[in-house]
Symmetry: C2
Subunit: 147 residues, 2 copies
C-alpha cells in the first residue's frame, strides 16, 4: 500500500527531514511513503491543491477534532486496508489555518494525533513514527510494547 | 521557572538533539530547560534514579493513561505555577517499560500527550514544542492559532 503524506508550507527544519528519512527507510519494504508539500495560500487554494494531490486515494484528514486512535487500532486499520487491497492512502495535515469544516467532512476518515495542537512538522514526525510502529505491530516485532 | 525533562536510555538520534536545541533556544528567556538522561536498567532502578533526579520539584509524569490536555490548558497550568512562584518542574518520560502504577500514583500530575504510544524521543520533541507553544500563548504571540 502506498502512502502520500501531504503538508502545507515550505519544508521544515533539517531535523524533520532527518526524522522522516529514518522512518521511511525503515518502512521501505512496506510500500511507498511519499511526502508532498503544498504551497501556502488561502485556505481554499490550499484545500484545492490537497484535493488534487490526494486523488484516487483514500483521504485521511488529521485534525484535533478527529477520532483519537491507539497505536494498535491504527495497526488494525492498516491491516484492514491491506486485506481489502487498498492501493493508496493520503494523509492530509493542515497548515496553520487547519482544515475547513467542509473539507474535513469530505474526507473518508478524520483522526486526531493528540488533544494538543501540534505544529505541522511535529505532527509529521509523530505520524511517521506511528506508521512505523503500526507496521512493527503487524509483524509482531518487539518495537511496540504495551504499557 | 526551571524545567527538567527526564528520559531513559541512550541519547536518541541526531535529529532529536537538533529539535530540542531549537526549542530550548527559543525558550531561553523563560527559564532553564534541561534534559536529563537516566541510564537504562530495571524499572525499579530507573524509577529510583528518576525520583532522585526530580527531587525538590513538582513531578509531572507523562503516561498514556494520564489527563489529555489542550495546548491552552497547558499554558494556563504553567501560568498558575508561575503565579504561585513554583521554582522547578520535572517532567518524567518513561522508557520502553513505561511507568509502574505506584510511580505514576506518586507523581503530582499525570498527563497524556496522545492516545497513541509515542517513542520516547518523539514524546520529547512533542513536549518541547508544547512548552514553546504554551509560552507563546502566554505572551500572546501569533505562533499559536486556534483551529
Amino acid at each position: 500500500m502506498d502512502w502520500r503524506i501531504i503538508t502545507v508550507g515550505k519544508p521544515g527544519h533539517a531535523w524533520v527531514k532527518a526524522a522522516l528519512e529514518l522512518y521511511w527507510q525503515r518502512l521501505k519494504h512496506h510500500g511507498r511513503f511519499e511526502h508532498i508539500v503544498i504551497k501556502e495560500g488561502s485556505l481554499a487554494q490550499v484545500e484545492a491543491q490537497m484535493t488534487t494531490a490526494s486523488e484516487h486515494s483514500l483521504r485521511v484528514v488529521l485534525d484535533e477534532r478527529g477520532k483519537q486512535l491507539r497505536s494498535v487500532e491504527l495497526a488494525k486499520w492498516i491491516e484492514k486496508q491491506q486485506i481489502s487491497a487498498r492501493k493508496r492512502v493520503s494523509v492530509l495535515i493542515g497548515g496553520a489555518d487547519g482544515h475547513s469544516d467542509s473539507f474535513r467532512a469530505s474526507a473518508d476518515v478524520c483522526w486526531s494525533l493528540s488533544s494538543l495542537t501540534l505544529q505541522h512538522d511535529v505532527a509529521l514526525v509523530v505520524l511517521a513514527e506511528q506508521l512505523y510502529r503500526a507496521h512493527a505491530i503487524l509483524r509482531g516485532e518487539p518495537y511496540h510494547r504495551e504499557g
